[in-house]
Symmetry: C2
Subunit: 221 residues, 2 copies
């Protein structure tokens, strides 16, 4: 195994509960209340699919204009609810370890560039970090496009890549990209949900992954 | 089986994500950031135990004064983040069904009276509803005191009671009270986490419980 591709929100930065409550509030405001636990399990898929899923919950499809409007409003409410973005324990050290050991790695996120930037800034990354975001691909997770674009930029094959993510959407997209998924509990899913979605290993958070990194058989390139 | 004892937050009203983000913010403000997913899994235990657990996460015990201060601040932040309390789908109908079928039931919550009142008001309950809250007992969940006090007021034995809750704390307290636990996914735990904590059945939310109520063998009294 030669490379690690990371999801961003819930995997490297602790933002899932802010995103969940922001979506819950935005959907309720718009007259389409969705239960919190169901919103939670939609986080990490593309914003377009998320608003489609919300439409399914309330029993009618949303127009493109409505979906776009909701996503804008979500961005504003999220900033209000969670002005600070905190790296998850071990996230900064884990990325530093991979750099030092010359193990290829990158970030692939369903977030749009402006939102991703705020999370990336919290991680103190070098300028040459490989980052693929929603604006780089046609379709976000659970389509495999983000991970495949990241793998190409890293110059490795899909079979040589691990994908590290906190949501079933990461694991589903990893399988479709022929990559091996690793789940983190830091997004709030239960361990079995992640294994059942195809995780090869599950760790609590980036700190536990770093402690256990010898289990992954990664080699430098 | 002759009675059903309900947890309140996350089981009948959709408040878990608001409580999680409020605690996450209050703890971070106080210089003791705890990861969101860990805060999520503390919701539903007594406020005192929750602040103790937060102390464990940051590596030093909190004084009673600090704990009290954090709980007060949590109440204020929660109201700001989640001013409206929504019943979970099926909650109002489920309670109405039990009343109509003359199946004994009550509510037992780790919340203090003032906070519980706001959630109860959202459920449109009759005045004679049996409700036991944090102010009625010495120790909240996962101690069995709340469920035992509720069962006594219902005039049944522990063995005749189901406990319905969304958190492992409800299931742990139910086992200690010799009652049978039923888990709901509406608090955001994974299904297997609830079964592993001892749930006899797991349903999505109160609506699915109501649809499946014949599975529980309840009889009127």
């Amino acid at each position: 195994m030669r490379a690690v591709i990371f999801d961003l929100d819930g995997t490297l930065v602790d933002t899932v509960y802010g995103h969940t409550l922001a979506w819950q509030r935005v959907l309720a405001e718009a007259g389409m209340p969705v239960e919190g636990w169901k919103v939670h399990r939609l986080i990490g898929m593309s914003g377009g699919l998320l608003t489609q899923a919300a439409g399914h919950e309330i029993g009618r499809p949303l127009s493109d204009g409505e979906a776009e409007q909701l996503q804008k409003r979500h961005g504003a409410v999220y900033k209000e609810l969670m002005p600070d973005r905190r790296p998850l324990p071990g996230a900064v050290d884990l990325l530093r370890h991979l750099r030092r050991e010359k193990i290829k790695h990158g970030v692939a996120t369903s977030g749009r560039r402006a939102d991703a930037k705020a999370s990336l800034d919290a991680l103190d990354l070098p300028d040459d970090m490989v980052v693929v975001d929603r604006d780089d691909v046609e379709r976000a997770k659970p389509e495999p496009d983000l991970f495949l674009a990241c793998q190409e930029r890293l110059g490795v094959t899909p079979e040589e890549c691990y994908v590290v993510g906190d949501a079933v959407w990461d694991l589903l997209a990893a399988r479709r990209a022929a990559m091996l998924g690793i789940g983190l509990l830091s997004g709030g899913y239960g361990q079995e949900e992640l294994y059942q979605a195809g995780a090869y290993r599950v760790y609590s958070n980036p700190a536990e992954l770093l402690d256990s990194i010898y289990q992954l058989g990664l080699r430098p390139s």
